[in-house]
Symmetry: C2
Subunit: 312 residues, 2 copies
């Protein structure tokens, strides 16, 4: 079997990690030396992982399974609160995935959302909100910068597990449109979104959308349930017939489910030595397969490790 | 309906283009002014399009339809010649897609490729070839540079319709791993590939593979047939059971099919004013939906327009 890359792609969900012994490496490589991804992950300490907070986790339930999202209240507090409120009044249940555009986004919402007479009513949550395209840089906000630059922003890196950008000149920071990011669709005006229609990036990072639409979180499990959906044949990948819609069984805040029904996941903290070593591993690719490692890594090519854990 | 982006995503295959009239734009915008993607495409002249060369076009036939690839003999002459030779001796017919890794690649080849006794014999073509990871920069090779930099390479842009990078320091140029690029898998040594196993990028551009593996072309139609395949549950997205393999009906050089059976496509030339205007349109996003256009574009976010045309 010939690979475009051997034994190096990190699965989104790491099950049991088997330590890799590299023959040419010292028995106990120093923490700061360049190691392979597998070596770095095998050496990560329990304290370098964090559990998802159920109050900050959203489940999109489809007939094919569950997509798990971590929400980003540090970046979009009002949208996150509203999406949770929408979920709690069961607004999304029975709505549908309406759009699947190749190399771009999958989007769900109300098929009748444009018809004020027919659309799903909202009891308590808001239908629209002011935009949360960016926020102020704050020293209390964690930031792990990347060293290799970015086409779109002055600085990029990670904060609380999310890919972000910063512009020290304007004092702004914002979430970035990497694969699996979750956003809140809007119309032509900034305040026309609010979380009733949500999209997920399923292709090459559409970074031109950064600061133009409110991102609210990131899928941490189940992406393949979205990325493999049939593409819509209409403009922008919208499904053209109702029978093509993919039903949304429900959207729930994880905290509202009994613990036994939750998906228990741990994420590698992005403010740890293990994550710093992972970034170096991705820059320098010590795996045997790589013959000419580039020594650089771009924001959306840094994996954000996730693993299943036993329920609490 | 709320969009993460309205009326701006260019479909891979443009059918009939409807000119868009922007109310605020002059009646006849100058060629160099920033326009929307739709405006640019509507203004492209017939001479700015080129037909696929049937001798340089590969068809991957699946039960679900055809994926069309343009080959890149300027960058990988020996691999391209060998893949055509393999196709012409029907080497690929009845083999299978063996791998579908989310946000990474789909790959096809011989399920028994590692078993010298069982593997598909090759009559005339080569099984392996010296690597063609890069080539010398040559003034005869067209190059349309992009202005906004790149994380991985000193210079990036387009050549003959392909995304490429250049390093003036080393004098090398190479194809880049953007979405839909076609590559020739290999083992751990540089010359262990040759085109018997081919992969296609289905996710965020894995640019760390550049110069580590031989790219040979790009899918110009039918990507959704690959990108929506069920993901493999094995390591690296390999299918774990033979019944999960997706049969390759055949791989053919377009020139070997009767004209009536070919997929006639035109691609926008990347050395034209229309393409330069398209790049500007993607950088500055004059569509009403965009509230804060970034003014930059990254290599793999530049669309390469393709349209169906009548047979010759």
């Amino acid at each position: 079997m010939r690979f475009p890359t051997a034994a190096l792609a990190l699965p989104l969900v790491l099950g049991s990690l088997v330590p890799v012994v590299a023959c040419a490496a010292p028995a106990v490589p120093p923490r700061t030396a360049a190691r392979t991804t597998s070596e770095v992950m095998a050496a990560a300490q329990p304290s370098e992982w964090r559990r998802l907070d159920p109050e900050n986790t959203l489940y999109l339930e489809l007939a094919t399974g569950r997509v798990v999202f971590e929400l980003a209240p540090e970046f979009a507090p009002n949208h996150v609160a509203n999406i949770k409120a929408l979920a709690r009044e069961k607004y999304f249940d029975g709505l549908a995935i309406l759009r699947s555009q190749d190399n771009y986004v999958v989007q769900w919402g109300d098929p009748d959302g444009e018809d004020a007479a027919q659309r799903r009513p909202i009891a308590h949550a808001a239908r629209t909100l002011p935009a949360e395209f960016h926020r102020a840089i704050d020293s209390a906000l964690p930031f792990t910068p990347l060293p290799d630059g970015d086409v779109y922003a002055p600085l990029v890196g990670f904060s609380g597990g999310f890919p972000i950008a910063r512009d020290p000149g304007s004092g702004k920071t914002w979430l970035t449109h990497c694969y699996a990011m979750l956003g809140s669709g809007r119309g032509d005006t900034a305040d026309s979104g609010g979380g009733t229609e949500l999209y997920v990036v399923i292709g090459h990072a559409p970074r031109h959308l950064d600061k133009n639409v409110t991102l609210v979180g990131r899928a941490v499990s189940g992406m393949k349930l979205l990325s493999t959906l049939p593409r819509g044949s209409g403009a922008l990948g919208f499904y053209e017939k109702r029978e093509q819609y993919v039903p949304v069984v429900s959207v729930r805040v994880a905290a509202d489910l009994p613990p036994a029904e939750r998906t228990e996941l741990e994420l590698l903290r992005t403010d740890t030595p293990a994550f710093a070593a992972l970034v170096e591993a991705r820059r320098h690719r010590r795996e045997e397969w790589f013959l000419d490692p580039v020594g650089k890594v771009e924001l959306c090519n840094v994996p954000l490790p996730v693993r299943a854990v036993a329920p609490r």
